[in-house]
């Protein structure tokens, strides 16, 4: 058997980290895609999850904390032939990068966004993240969010996202299905992937998630936006996983047909005579 196209480098993650299952699943999904590694760009911000692109044999863009989305959409706009996948964490995506999260949903550029959501800041060792559970002053649980928890799926659907899903690192088969569907979705696709942080999150453990995650019913209609909003609000004793919402909507490329024809933007050339004609229009 020949060597798979996508392989992994040695990682710097903690033993038992949920990221291992995610990277293993992602590598498998990429090998199924029939896209050569040089046509795939893995983008990350900063954080443990954001290091994913460091550990897979593909093009890698490790940007700034919180800023993976603007870079990723621009890469895709510049070269529509590339498959662009963002892997980064809950702090990077919803905290530092919150404004970009909101507005890149609206752009609907054809990229995929995998948020490794462990409901805590891991690399900085244990501070609450926007998605940490809400608690009160008498609660000694760790991590503890005295304010409201950020609900990424609810916000993504409300902001106009065209593919919104949740999965769990402990269910690799489900995760692979979600990843594949997200990558194949034309437009911005978000998969919020619950994963335990074994070192710091003593609340949202593997057992915690295992007990609560529940695949959506077979009859669930992912195209019903109001129902999806309602479903997205469920996060407690049961946590729904699966594609909560999807719709076919024009992508960024479809809305800019003049820039997205057969020739990717990066290869387009303008004749010097056309440039000179534009200059001469100021005579």
């Amino acid at each position: 058997m020949s060597k798979p196209a996508f392989t992994n480098y040695e990682t710097a993650w903690c033993p038992g980290c949920g990221n291992f299952a995610i990277i293993e699943t992602l590598t498998g999904v990429l090998n199924q895609l029939e896209r050569p590694p040089h046509q795939v760009v893995l983008v990350g911000g900063i954080g443990q999850a954001a290091k994913t692109n460091q550990y897979i044999t593909a093009n890698g863009f490790s940007g700034l904390h919180g800023r993976s989305l603007p870079a990723a959409v621009a890469i895709k706009i510049a070269n529509d032939d590339l498959t662009v996948i963002v892997n980064t964490g809950d702090g990077d995506s919803y905290g530092e990068g919150g404004n970009h999260f909101l507005h890149n949903i609206r752009r609907n550029v054809d990229i995929t966004h995998f948020v490794h959501d462990n409901q805590i800041y891991g690399l900085t060792k244990g501070q609450p993240s926007p998605t940490s559970n809400r608690c009160d002053l008498t609660d000694n649980s760790n991590p503890c969010n005295l304010g409201a928890s950020f609900n990424p799926l609810l916000i993504a659907i409300a902001a106009g996202a065209t593919f919104v899903a949740r999965s769990f690192s402990g269910d690799k088969k489900h995760l692979a299905e979600m990843m594949t569907a997200a990558i194949q979705h034309p437009g911005y696709a978000l998969v919020d992937i619950l994963q335990p942080c074994v070192s710091f999150n003593k609340t949202n453990t593997f057992a915690y998630y295992k007990k609560r995650v529940k695949p959506l019913d077979e009859g669930y209609d992912a195209t019903n936006k109001l129902a999806a909003l309602e479903k997205a609000m469920e996060f407690g004793d049961t946590i729904p996983i699966g594609i909560l919402y999807r719709e076919q909507a024009p992508t960024y490329a479809a809305k800019h047909p003049e820039l997205f024809d057969k020739v990717p933007l990066v290869d387009k050339q303008i004749n010097q005579s056309d440039v000179q004609a534009l200059i001469n229009s100021y005579i």
């Binding site: 050569p36 890698g60 490790s62 990723a72 890469i75 507005h103 003049e258």
Partner: protein, 558 residues
């Protein structure tokens, strides 16, 4: 050479009138230089446009006015101290202006009789053209191509009626300017970027850089430029970096406040070695400052913006021609050295329009990236390969089998995160080494004036035109003055400066800021001190007159 001012409140149509008048003057055979002074509001207040025109090329505005056209008393009161004794005030007969220089005409009545009081400015335009004995030959074509079809006829009638209201007073020699361009600084930057093959522009609207965003939007589909209005300046610069990584020639633009948000990503471009051009169209700061006015106070900020150390280049744009050629050059240098290049402009240059000789797309500096080596299993592509000149061969993702791995963390040759002290030293040295090559490409400041000068003025960016004209005036008496006008400003080219430093008795820095940032940079880099400084920071551009007055003040008269 004449200098007229059109004044009124925001919403009075002064800007539209000035735009049409400029075109008519230009087409009739005038050189001109127009500045725009507006308040940060959409209606009311006081705005003015000042048009200087004549038979010689112009590079700056002057303070003394030959004429004022005003729609309100406020503009008269504000500007009449600058009006020459034999100048004129053109206004409607109803205005309460008691001045022997006033020419009061029934503009409003004529406009009303024509059926639309709003054409009052066109009546006045006709009167202005007649005063300066400018033929009406070009009016019809210009009105037709700039106004809505249903407004053409009435405005042309208005211009003709205004033309018949009075006799010519000035005799203006008209020359051949039909091959010249007339454009604003921001439009010249836009054209330079288009000529250099710009494929991606991202920005958040911010005065006075916004017209750049508007320019690229207007030409997006015909010139194949993806234009993204970002959610903030942080997104704007990170988008430009992403597009550049993917191989698109990319640029972002903003003013000082937005640039402040961009600085972390500026360093990212530096460490990740991703080509980037960022335009800072300066306005007075700090914070919100004076949104619609001008200053040159970001120099020391942009040369040191962002934590850490990395090579960068800063080019100050001196005039509209610079805006075109230096923007193109900045994009080429950013690619060649894989560094961020910052273009410093300002509101004065951005919004002023002038006539300049034709700009040639064929004359710009291009940089064609050599093909990166083809990777093999034994020799995979290394994005940060150590090389003699510090520049690593650049591969574009998807264009070959090379895997292009870039990182904001310190990294090894392959782009992998590292914490190795040895690799850190290698990478810092590699990046900084690029400066050696870059320094060889620096363009020395333009010298202007008398080669044997004893007094040397130094300036950078948009004050250059005023400095040149001031030097010319000073040298009419005694050929004692020279000026060095910096375009490339960081790294600072020092050869010509050292040469003149040995010759002159005094150096005078002329700057649109409060602290003398150029003088400070010169001293830091060369230990050369400036004896005197002429500084202005009230948001209004240093004029030729300000420079002459400044020199007179510390010379005790001349």
């Amino acid at each position: 050479m004449y200098n007229i001012l059109l004044g009124g409140a925001a919403g009075d149509g002064i800007e539209t009138m000035a735009g049409l008048l400029e075109k008519m003057l230009k087409q009739s055979g005038c050189h001109l230089f127009t500045i725009r002074d507006f308040m940060s509001r959409v209606r009311g207040g006081h705005n003015f446009t000042q048009i200087r025109f004549g038979d010689q090329p112009l590079h700056a505005h002057r303070d003394t006015l030959d004429g004022i056209f005003t729609v309100d008393e406020k503009s008269y009161q504000e500007h009449q101290p600058r009006l020459s004794y034999d100048g004129f005030i053109l206004c409607d007969e109803a205005l309460a202006i008691d001045d022997f220089r006033a020419i009061k005409l029934p503009f409003k009545k004529i406009a009303t009789d024509l059926g639309n009081p709003k054409v009052i400015n066109s009546v006045a335009t006709g009167a202005l053209l007649k005063l300066f004995n400018i033929p009406l030959d070009h009016a019809a074509a210009i009105i037709k191509s700039n106004l809505r079809a249903d407004l053409v006829e009435i405005n042309l009638s208005a211009i003709n009626k205004g033309y018949d209201l009075l006799e010519s007073h000035y005799d203006l020699p008209l020359i051949e300017t039909s091959e010249d361009l007339m454009l604003s600084g921001n439009n010249a930057i836009g054209l330079g970027a288009v000529a250099a093959g710009l494929r991606f522009y991202s920005a958040y609207p911010m005065s006075p850089s916004t017209s750049l965003l508007d320019f690229f939007n207007a030409h997006s589909s015909t010139m194949a430029i993806a234009v993204e209005q970002a959610e903030d300046e942080i997104a704007a610069i990170n988008m430009a970096i992403g597009a550049s990584y993917a191989g698109a020639t990319a640029m972002t633009g903003t003013s000082g406040g937005g640039f402040s948000l961009m600085v972390e990503a500026l360093g990212f471009s530096g460490i990740a070695e991703i080509p980037l051009v960022a335009v800072d169209v300066q306005r007075p700061g700090p914070a919100t400052g004076f949104p619609t006015r001008t200053e040159q106070s970001d120099l020391k900020f942009v040369i040191s913006a962002s934590q850490g150390e990395f090579p960068r280049m800063v080019i100050a744009l001196r005039d509209h021609t610079d805006c075109f050629y230096q923007t193109a050059r900045s994009l080429a240098l950013a690619k060649k050295y894989q560094i961020p290049v910052i273009l410093l402009s300002d509101q004065y240059l951005a919004d002023s329009t002038t006539t300049i000789p034709i700009l040639n797309a064929s004359e710009i500096v291009h940089y064609d990236e050599p093909e990166a080596p083809v990777p093999t299993p034994d020799h995979p592509y290394k994005r940060y390969a150590l090389t003699e000149n510090g520049i690593s061969p650049l591969a574009i993702p998807g264009k070959s089998e090379a895997l292009v791995r870039v990182d904001s963390d310190e990294h090894d040759e392959s782009g992998q995160i590292t914490e190795s002290a040895t690799v850190r030293n290698q990478m810092v040295q590699k990046r900084m080494h690029k400066l050696e090559g870059l320094k060889k490409e620096l363009i020395e400041p333009e010298f202007w004036g008398a080669q044997q000068c004893q007094s040397l003025l130094v300036g950078f960016g948009s004050t250059s035109g005023a400095i040149k004209e001031a030097v010319d005036i000073l040298n009419q008496e005694e050929k004692n003055y020279g000026a060095l006008l910096f375009g490339d400003i960081y790294p600072l080219p020092t050869e010509r400066l050292r040469h003149f430093c040995d010759q002159v008795m005094e150096i005078i820095n002329v700057e649109q800021n409060a602290t003398g940032q150029l003088a400070s940079l010169i001293r830091e880099e060369t230990l050369i001190s400036c004896e005197h400084s002429i500084l202005k920071y009230d948001g209004r551009q240093l004029s030729v007159d300000d420079i002459l007055t400044g020199i007179k003040n510390f010379k005790g008269g001349f």
